[in-house]
Symmetry: C2
């Protein structure tokens, strides 16, 4: 049998219906299933009541050949999923020794006493193929019921991801003999979807029938994902890769990474490779650029520090901005951000620095400088570059957008050697 099964996701838990928890599992599962060429037909969130779970299972099997469930596998009385599935498949629970050992290992690692309720988690319906969970106490379960596959996983995101990656995705590919599929992701920044589409229209038009480009926009840029599906011919990966060099050339200035690499990590890798250190001088972004950069593990190798100069006094004393500049041009001006960036280099002792000043809103705007007016500057040993940006989609998005623009400004001007 080789065909592409339809997939449904059922997320189980009152906390989803009450809005106490946002369901991020489904989106992650949708992405990962998409990578192996499977499509989700429906996602349903239901209460952790037996009759609701059974109804959802009955409905899903009418529409799909794969039903993936998350949630309801914890050790407490609220967690019904396993018992509901045992009854649904007419199967008794029995102890699964390898999962008991996994549970024991988890408790040993955290040096906590194991309770009887946790021991009970290793009892699974006889009808299932157990999926061992080495990062949590609830094993997964795989049921094959007349050609429809049902999989039950814990709702804790990192446990679900572990089970999906280790067991579920490979088993689905094997079971359904899912045709091969290959992807390449090119991350761009600084241009919108329609501009990029125009730039690469001719390249896109010449793609073979089994290759398709997806535009995945985010705040500040677009991820491009090229997908090659099976055409019965060999070397799918190689043929996909062969399409990339002309694409790279066309989007060169906007391309910052290949694969799932965020901008701050791509910039960090450039700094590390070139042996450069960096710092920031932030007014309107209020530390957001530093926060992004230091979110990357190992960033202390190139990120030395920041001066968040929200008040003008701090701009003068900690960054050496001239009081006359602030008086003449104001804090939100090309002159001020240039001095901020140059001051950050001197005061923090870094090779390159980026500075921001602007009006994030909702207050603080004027006729001359309305909310959404931003100045950015980049400085290294050879040059200082300033840029004005106008963007206003509310305080939070403004800060996020300018943070991304500042990281991109550094990426664009970073010298190749220190």
């Amino acid at each position: 049998m080789s065909h592409i099964p339809a997939v449904e996701i059922i997320t189980i838990g009152d906390e989803l219906l009450y809005g106490q928890v946002i369901d991020t599992n489904s989106a992650w599962m949708g992405q990962e299933l998409g990578k192996i060429g499977l499509r989700i037909r429906q996602i349903s969130s239901v209460s952790d009541k037996a009759e609701e779970i059974v109804r959802a299972l009955d409905e899903a099997r009418q529409r799909a050949q794969v039903v993936l469930m998350t949630g309801g596998l914890g050790p407490t009385k609220d967690d019904l999923t396993k018992h509901v599935l045992a009854r649904y498949f007419g199967s008794e629970l029995e102890l699964y020794e390898p999962s008991l050992r996994d549970v024991e290992a988890i408790f040993a690692r955290f040096n906590r006493p194991m309770l009887e309720v946790n021991r009970q988690q290793a009892y699974l319906p006889k009808a299932c193929t157990p999926l061992r969970n080495t990062v949590g106490t609830a094993p997964g379960m795989w049921f094959d019921d007349g050609g429809v596959v049902f999989v039950s996983m814990p709702g804790v995101p990192f446990e679900m991801k572990h089970l999906m990656t280790t067991h579920v995705l490979p088993k689905l590919q094997e079971y359904f003999r899912v045709p091969p599929i290959e992807h390449a992701v090119l991350q761009t920044i600084g241009q919108g979807e329609s501009f990029l589409a125009e730039q690469i229209a001719d390249w896109e038009a010449q793609l073979p029938a089994n290759m398709k480009l997806a535009y995945l926009p985010y705040l500040g840029g677009v991820r491009l994902r090229l997908t090659a599906t099976d055409d019965g011919q060999p070397n799918l990966r190689e043929r996909l890769e062969a399409q990339l060099p002309p694409l790279r050339a066309l989007i060169g200035p906007y391309l910052f990474a290949e694969g799932e690499v965020p901008l701050e990590a791509a910039l960090g890798a450039m700094l590390k490779e070139r042996g450069l250190t960096m710092g920031t001088a932030e007014s309107c972004t209020g530390g957001a650029i530093a926060h992004k950069l230091t979110g990357v593990a190992g960033s202390s190798a190139y990120f030395l520090g920041s001066i968040v100069a929200y008040a003008n006094d701090v701009k003068v004393k900690q960054l050496g901005v001239q009081p006359t500049t602030l008086e003449t041009h104001g804090a939100v001006s090309e002159e001020t951000v240039r001095q901020m960036a140059e001051g950050a280099r001197r005061h923090l002792g870094v090779d390159v620095a980026v500075a921001t000043s602007g009006i994030a809103g909702p207050g603080g705007g004027s006729e001359e400088k309305p909310v959404g007016t931003f100045w950015l500057a980049y400085a290294d040993a050879h040059q200082t570059v300033a840029r004005k940006i106008t963007f206003n989609r509310g305080r939070q998005l403004n800060i996020e957008f300018i943070t991304t623009a500042a990281l991109n400004l550094v990426r664009q001007h970073l010298p190749t050697v220190s």
Copy 2:
């Protein structure tokens, strides 16, 4: 008719199934519906194909008396919802003048030319009660089909929220004569759910039958929500409020705000009220505390700046930490964070400062100071207070937890006058 209808949510759009967008709308709707005493029975995400939408509507009306839809109302060919609903309710589209004027006003505000496709957005099925949207181009639609209410709203979160708040929630309360319900939210920080539950067990036990307390934990604290449902007696709000003074007394040290106020905003209000200015000196948090504080509109009134001292050199030069302290005790030590906090006060010219230094991981740990070791210090004109925290749930959560702990440390020690 006065009863509590079951609600279903249907979110429409391939981008949800492919995992390109995380569905945050449903959680928000679940929370808001909960506040007026309505419960969601199921949430379903389906493709923007006509047959999938119709199937979802047919299924939902079997289970619920209210079906809330989001998505598929944009101006492009992909956006089918309105046409599907017109056919589903056997109703033709006609121009709804007030919505046309709303659309025109939106384009006038952004100074952009209005296209024919946008004009088309003001055509609505005759069978619906239009719900005017003054913040976007897609009006909402309310259908009453034999006692089942169907509502269609745009998927853009702020447009959906606008329609829910302005039209849908009040109309549902009126239509179903939903019994009155009252809530009070008390925000606590610094103690877990089980500790709080023990502290307030006696108070909770004496609550009248129509009042219930919910524990809503988040990273670092717990939101307590007291809900009073209708018992046929008058003055429900007053009786709810009357329960609060003893609760406030029991959780006093952990209570930082009432209502939906985040910690950084609560701290900001305290600083403003007391006429105090604040700054931060951040090593392991890398600017995250400053970023949180400056996310609050108007924070420039009390937040002056930060020194993010990731490198030891920056700790010495910008904060005045003694090199001998760093040599003797290391960067992650009580001595260092005390000097960082005191240095931040001097160098930034602020009344109060908070400092952090620790090992966020995954690398950088040692036997003596493993990943998850953090030191925090608070300083004002009268005292410096240091605190050690051990917490390790991965780099991102570690940074988030320590950021919250640092804000709380300031809240706990802030002097009542400057």
